[in-house]
Symmetry: D2
Amino acid sequence: MRVGNSVLPLTSRPVMHIDKHQIAQHNQRLEASHGRRFAQLAEDLPNVEKIVQQLNDFQVAIPSWALGTGGTRFGRFSGGGEPRNLEEKIADIGILHALNRSSGSISLHIPWDIPEDYAAIRTLAAHYGLVFDAMNSNTFQDQSGQPLSYKFGSMQHVDRAVRQQAIDHNIDVIKQGMELGSKSLTVWLADGSSFPGQLNFRKAFQNTLECLREVYEALPDDWKMFVEYKAFEPNFYSTTVGDWGQSLLYASKLGEKAYTLVDLGHHLPNANIEQIVALLLMEGKLGGFHFNDSKYGDDDLTTGSIKPYQLFLIFNELVEGMDSRGMDHTKDLGWMIDASHNLKDPLEDLVQSVEAILVAYAQALLVDREALIEAQASNDVVQAQEVLQHAFRTDVRPLVAEARKRAGAALDPLALFRDLDVRGKLIKERGTKAVATGL
Amino acid sequence: MRVGNSVLPLTSRPVMHIDKHQIAQHNQRLEASHGRRFAQLAEDLPNVEKIVQQLNDFQVAIPSWALGTGGTRFGRFSGGGEPRNLEEKIADIGILHALNRSSGSISLHIPWDIPEDYAAIRTLAAHYGLVFDAMNSNTFQDQSGQPLSYKFGSMQHVDRAVRQQAIDHNIDVIKQGMELGSKSLTVWLADGSSFPGQLNFRKAFQNTLECLREVYEALPDDWKMFVEYKAFEPNFYSTTVGDWGQSLLYASKLGEKAYTLVDLGHHLPNANIEQIVALLLMEGKLGGFHFNDSKYGDDDLTTGSIKPYQLFLIFNELVEGMDSRGMDHTKDLGWMIDASHNLKDPLEDLVQSVEAILVAYAQALLVDREALIEAQASNDVVQAQEVLQHAFRTDVRPLVAEARKRAGAALDPLALFRDLDVRGKLIKERGTKAVATGL
Amino acid sequence: MRVGNSVLPLTSRPVMHIDKHQIAQHNQRLEASHGRRFAQLAEDLPNVEKIVQQLNDFQVAIPSWALGTGGTRFGRFSGGGEPRNLEEKIADIGILHALNRSSGSISLHIPWDIPEDYAAIRTLAAHYGLVFDAMNSNTFQDQSGQPLSYKFGSMQHVDRAVRQQAIDHNIDVIKQGMELGSKSLTVWLADGSSFPGQLNFRKAFQNTLECLREVYEALPDDWKMFVEYKAFEPNFYSTTVGDWGQSLLYASKLGEKAYTLVDLGHHLPNANIEQIVALLLMEGKLGGFHFNDSKYGDDDLTTGSIKPYQLFLIFNELVEGMDSRGMDHTKDLGWMIDASHNLKDPLEDLVQSVEAILVAYAQALLVDREALIEAQASNDVVQAQEVLQHAFRTDVRPLVAEARKRAGAALDPLALFRDLDVRGKLIKERGTKAVATGL
Amino acid sequence: MRVGNSVLPLTSRPVMHIDKHQIAQHNQRLEASHGRRFAQLAEDLPNVEKIVQQLNDFQVAIPSWALGTGGTRFGRFSGGGEPRNLEEKIADIGILHALNRSSGSISLHIPWDIPEDYAAIRTLAAHYGLVFDAMNSNTFQDQSGQPLSYKFGSMQHVDRAVRQQAIDHNIDVIKQGMELGSKSLTVWLADGSSFPGQLNFRKAFQNTLECLREVYEALPDDWKMFVEYKAFEPNFYSTTVGDWGQSLLYASKLGEKAYTLVDLGHHLPNANIEQIVALLLMEGKLGGFHFNDSKYGDDDLTTGSIKPYQLFLIFNELVEGMDSRGMDHTKDLGWMIDASHNLKDPLEDLVQSVEAILVAYAQALLVDREALIEAQASNDVVQAQEVLQHAFRTDVRPLVAEARKRAGAALDPLALFRDLDVRGKLIKERGTKAVATGL
């Protein structure tokens, strides 16, 4: 768990903030019933202290673009009080982190979040106990003043000059990340085609690989490159990094600093994502994770709101696979939320998402590994299901709440967010028309 | 809850049966920990007694074909000890019902289960506390000695003689059901086409409607007809009762005794089944339910093994919709499991399925309706999700176990099934080569 | 076929237009090879004259929002020369219609296309030989100055005032349509939910039905109301008019002027759209059609670019079903393109779409109905496929070109569009930064 | 093109066969109209002779299990006259090959087709001009007398003894293939799981890889191993060789004789198969192809009956990709049909499938490569589509027929099959109850 201790200059201090006393007061009110539930649950669990500690340690990065209202091509319905600049985005994540102490890092998107003063931004983040997670480049939109267009792709582009522009941009993003203390670059390419014949698939792959190689060359030794894949959208016929197989192919050809990044919403219908995760871990090539949930495509809904059992099964593979390689749950993979908050208050949505992630992680930690291995070894399919469902059906919320309590966060972050009227105060501070940069 | 009290003639008595003492002994062993967990849960629930009673009352019909090992077109791996005739199928459901007291009815499939002596079969069923649920006709296979083939459909068939054969068969099934005390007929038609051009869709619909009308005419006044729909398989281009819209069209044209039957596995990818359920209830046309689970198609897996949250959401609509119409949860809809037990012991699979159904039903009963209505009325999407997820995340297993205990069933049916070595005894009784009729 | 003959006031005349001489010159150049191909094809076809006439008569409406570059939530890459107002949109469709004489109507979208002077707009349209097809309302976006928000739906909304606003808007759209000579209203509702619990499905349906009833009341006697359905997007959990079954339920409850509208991209994966079309025609409830193509969701690609055989099969059902009811192919259904031109020049995209529609229609007209009926009557699946594939594999482009030639349009519209550098001239006229209203 | 010239011993001669005179007579009757159509088409094509030669050379292997009626888990409706043994299966393919001269090889399935006398079988095949294509092993079913069961997988199995049994079987299949002159082994593993928790994905992969390695060791130097993947069925949660990414991973780890095999029906909904093909060719790892068609899953319908444009796009990639590597279209990839003939006469179904394959191949050969490259190089998406659609919309059937004519096959194989009443004669020879081994 990370705690911020820097001193924030007076002028940067936002009106809205959550202090320790508010949290303590809130927790005190809920302590009796929480304490009882936690104690009851602890009776049935052998290793409750260890699990609470693991939950305490777990941190999910928040992308800077998740603090504003999202939209679809059909429209966007803004909710008011959105952060107007990077400083306010950091402040929002600061509020979130104060509430749950599980959101201790921020993932920036360039060019939406170019800092003017790196040192000041680092200080500001540190004040909230935040560090900088993966940097995200953008070659799927044209920025005003940009010489060449990405209309027909970026790294796949038939024109070398466009490809060079995309390479240069990514290298620039790395440089900015170095200033901020980031250690990884996420490359999501929207490159692909919407019509048969538009692309030569092979050349598109090779152009992309060549560009990624040049970016990879510029990567510091202690950095990772995440190659994100997506089945479709915004291109509707093919995508040049379209599935885990393609991403793994790129990552393998690039080298040991290159990894695959899995976004839960980027698959064809019915894909078995947990198997993909297990195989990528087996190959040592799983790098990071984008959490969200979906029913139809890249719906970018609140994590755990549609398929919570799938989320648990994924965490079950993550825990098993990481443990089998001796990996550190908190450091060796990049965890990030990547959702679009079209209808909900973005901060409330993030509170729900982080809670769902921690619930699934706690359930996965509860899985009786020995019993599962034994069931598998004897092809006892019924018992294997019992082991998993026992963990999933257990109400682990007291564990998650206890971990928060011990970290100095709120027992019920959503309730406190509402009790303190955080959004109301943000609207007062920023106005109802504030619109965050992003999608 | 139904309890059997008839006297079974000595010669019909199977070797394997579960008696009250075995259950009492089992329950006694688990009582301490169960009692504690139930009491702890009851502390947090306002209406625990009512919920336990509702769980106690809830009964799920077991299809006669679910007692044997299922298979795919690629093969079938029998497990041994399968029931060799209708009497043994009833005995198997008797075992199941003794274990959970929630499986108090049997759904027969004709011609797989034609009784030789109706009175004897009724007595046998009553001995186990079982009644006869919906009768199922079969016009998707050719039986030996059958004059005309269903290769190109039954009720949709271009040849009137084939259609008449299908009508006659269904009327015969009704008659058999009347002898047994059944009150409903489920018509699942595999009719459809595998190639463009094979059918005139309109004529296929009209032929089918005309046949269903003739069967409907033969339906006793206190019977219901369930028109089941399915998106695909065994036909792979079109199905003549292919979705809820088509089923509703048939049911509406047929009359008030005709209803739609929903099988969870019979939809296109990503269908919102809970919305379908809600709309059919709104129209007063939801008749019955076939439980199972699936990831890809009609996979016929254990209920709740893949998408337990979807199952809960469906029950949430069922409870809300039935209550809004003043319907009786236990009598006004037909509940049945319809799965294929390819890998698991069929009885263990059914134990897990019934448990998953009761868990989902209990969660749905826990939903704070007033809070949900209030959240909906104020477009508080976050709070609406909280209300549902609170119910879903609660560990309701103690409620389900308590309901079983009060009904004289086992606190942990699966554990008792294994402790008593039920399958081992069935194999001893029936042999390892016994193969049940069915798919 | 409709031909414009009004006189356009000098000031409204755009720089870019296509005149008869240009078309004649173009056709003369291609006549030799076209004539030969057409003659060769005619040798093998019994009723070529009738088919050419039917192709000649067929008209597809162009939506006003299809003339600009479309986009996704990730961005939009404008192409330049887009129409800046309704007059220029009409001019664009005029160009298209001059090229193919098959695009003789325009479908307006309110509030994107509110005319300032109805008479002038009617005159302008008539000048190009265009009439006004279905009017489209918009309750899926908030317009500036709109008192209440559609963020949580319009006709489904829990607040009666929002519902009234949606009703009033639709009635206003009808009134505008009456001024322009339109005869139908298309209601596409984005209403739905993105999260379980957000909506009460039944109440959402009933609110929507109640609103549609009020709009229906305001519908002139000779108008039709089209109730469009869509499986998902922009809502990602449920849609309140989500499939053909729901649309048919609304349309049936509303009355005889209400119909279902089918958009090819609005279905779940693998849906059999041709069967839906056949059943809706059977019920007398198919009202209109939105053409486009897609691989994943509502991709809104060029019609026929992904699944041309499906398009043919749909036309095969349309022709068969309309003929069986004695319907007029050109008047009794509303035909419209509804696509998003993200990568292609919108006018070129429309030329390709109209061509694909006419090709599919021509193939459907070629189907040997008697042979098909005979094959179906004898369950000769092989022969039924042969009949359909023979029509589909026939190269019908000479028929379509001949129909165009006889109507005074270009033998090769795309080639002429490029030869005349239409887009270049439009850019010169309107600038590279012109952005059309719409998505 | 291969022609058989061995002498078949009198006793082996089947009653039904097709001789040269019958074909000549048939062709003579159709020559006039065919000749005209071919000549007309040739006028528009620059390289018609080369294309006809390529079509002439193209051979598709027929699997031995495709000669009988297929079924689903719901039933099988046999059609009569099915081959009763390997000799009769070869005779059936002989008939097919006589009709189209494009089906000159047979793919055996062990243990369904174990020859008793290799030399005799080779002679018999040679008599019909047939050679032996890929051998297929079977570890997805239990054979009577087999010591260990594949119920829980074969090469993935937790029990080393089961894995050894699967290895031994595959090595045995190689040996049998060596006797027959085959040069490749297709390994399709049904291995996977139907329930979460059933498998440890990583161990299942590693067990499978280890087994494949042992089989690979036994592979002769001039053989290839094809690792087939499938998304689901008969397992419904995970498959251990589930997608092209997994197959490529196995093939890469195995070595240069190991390749991926693509079956068109083995993907998740909406997968872009043509891109997969292009990437596998790029990697030098595409080994073979199983043709069929489908709408929902592994429907195993007649090739080209559902998505003919997709088939063309796949061939477009195959031609482009093979040419770019200097590969021989006829020898360097394994082409096979793999379908299930549930409703159609198997031989008629195969005639239609081979025709559809040749049509798609011919269309792909027609693609103007230079124009396509130029369109791609200038991001002219409209023109790229025009190039592809021009090839696809061209009626290439005269080219395919001409190739057949030159090879001594029938201009219209289906018509001749029916004219000669082949099936009627086979039924007379074999009876109506003959049922072929296979699925």
